[in-house]
Symmetry: C2
Subunit: 329 residues, 2 copies
């Protein structure tokens, strides 16, 4: 294993000089910089990220906090996109990533969690889909001990950046399109879980749409569960004109309920997961670039860790109708 020591010897400089070149510090002559880089190439030197993390608290590692539902594996695609985006970008920025599932840290207090991350030299945290009722992670973010990026939660402070699409507008857009296509009036809206920030925002979009188009709306909590959505549709869909769902999975549940009841109503979803293309019925949905969002999240946490300021970032979205022919490859 080739260490910084050997690079220094090979280049005929001191270890600290190599370190400075590596980390882009100023006050190094072009000449020595070239010598060092030459030596790095020749020896095929790769800096030991462990040692670097141990030595410097400043540019530590990034923890990814994901909350995959162990039951509903149909949406694993979203988490994989998050992971792919994060790991790709982390490699680009030379950040080390720690993949963490919420189950791992479920019964820790803020203090324990803080210690846990500190012990791993974690300086930045990306939280995907923070629940409003997760006090520990919420406190972690508010504590501002770590540089945080929250995806799909509207928390911003000195050291916290928020990233998401405009859920209010997206829900408005996709529902409007679906409703205008069939000239509907009576809407059944199957919302998400109460403790999610996006649930509120999407509901707000629906309320605005109801006003703008002069509709009537019944709202029920589907908790992002396919089965719950199915049951809600079975119960209430009959005397509605359209079913708007806050997730693709719920849209699939609702659609299957309609098929069982042998009635037709337009349904729209939210997310754009591949599964939508497999269920036999084309549905409108919002497509988010989960990969791109995650890339951006890593870039933002990188900024924060280098002294950047927390901010709100809004990513673009689009409306698509999912077809099997677009899915199969």
């Amino acid at each position: 294993m080739v260490s910084i020591r050997e690079v220094a010897k090979h280049a005929g400089v001191a270890i600290s000089t190599v370190s400075k070149v590596l980390n882009g510090y100023p006050n190094i002559s072009e000449e020595t910089k070239a010598k060092v880089q030459q030596a790095i190439k020749e020896l095929n030197y790769i800096p030991n990220s462990i040692a670097a993390a141990l030595s410097s608290k400043q540019f530590g590692r990034v923890a990814l906090i994901l909350d995959p539902k162990r039951q509903t594996q149909a949406i694993d695609q979203i988490f994989m996109q998050y992971l792919l985006g994060a790991l790709d970008t982390a490699q680009e920025l030379h950040l080390e990533v720690v993949t963490t599932f919420t189950s791992t840290i479920a019964d820790m207090s803020v203090e324990e969690l803080t210690g846990y991350f500190m012990a791993q030299s974690v300086a930045g945290v990306i939280i995907y889909g923070l629940s409003k009722e997760d006090p520990t992670l919420y406190k972690l973010v508010q504590g501002q001990q770590f540089s945080c990026v929250v995806v799909d939660a509207p928390i911003v402070n000195e050291r916290t950046t928020s990233i998401s699409i405009d859920h209010e507008q997206a829900q408005y857009d996709v529902a409007k399109k679906t409703i205008l296509d069939d000239n509907c009036k009576r809407v059944l809206y199957i919302a998400g879980r109460k403790d999610g920030y996006v649930t509120e925002q999407r509901l707000a979009g629906m309320k605005r749409l109801v006003q703008d188009l002069d509709l009537t709306m019944m709202v029920r909590q589907g908790d992002f569960s396919e089965l719950a959505a199915r049951n809600i549709a079975l119960k209430y869909a009959k005397n509605k004109d359209v079913i708007v769902c806050a997730s693709d999975l719920m849209a699939i549940g609702a659609m299957n309920a309609l098929i069982d009841m042998d009635i037709f109503r337009p349904v729209c979803g939210f997310d754009g997961i591949t599964l939508m293309g497999y269920v036999g019925k084309q549905m409108n949905t919002i497509r988010q670039d989960f990969y791109g969002i995650s890339c951006r999240a890593v870039k933002e946490v990188h900024q924060l860790m280098r002294g950047g300021q927390g901010q709100k970032v809004t990513m673009p979205h689009s409306i698509v109708k999912m077809h099997y022919k677009d899915i199969i490859i």
Copy 2:
């Protein structure tokens, strides 16, 4: 951040003593062990895994090498199960995990890859679905510089353990059940990619079955692609009695081809992914416990890193018919 030093001071012992209790070394009196554990509890001490990894090469970290297809997101479920199993078990065994996608290491030579892992204090590697034609990873395994566990590849040596279900038997089982249900004679077998070990093994199972049941079989390479399987089915299914596919995704492609042709043939798949339950047609498939396999993989790599011997581990499998009602929750 509370360090081992403070624990030692608090317990009134030396640092190394704390380290020894931490790592379960022998030759520590019950009394001091109790004192130390008491101090650990009181101070809420969490060992710094970074420092441990840096200091000791022996019990370093474990790299997970996954190869998720960026296109075919329908099978992300499998990778998430692998990840969940690995992370859960790693936490149990106090192992640190580095999640790696093949894209990250795609254009490295063995030497570079070795350096890359060494620089990260990686001592163990778990490779999920090693391709026969990945020379770099293959050499890495054969080089025996790392403790390796290969999932679904039959490589065993001093420091390499192989884990998988019995693909030959599984393919035999699921095809036999499907064939006997409908008393078929002419089989279309859509195999996987040529460079996969499992492809061979499953094909061997089919050959045995053809002998045992006195069938005729046409074999085509579907490359684990839904579209390829669809095209194969469109071309050859007509004068066959049954279509056996080496993956669920290919079975779905084949089934959709049959629907388009408006003919019926029994189809069976392999994997047991959730998607199978959504496509409207019930199909036999092999269910593997990807989560459990991954748990076992981590346990095995843990053994290897502590001096264990490489071996072959076979996991159980079962045949299921996928129903939508079993999927929706």
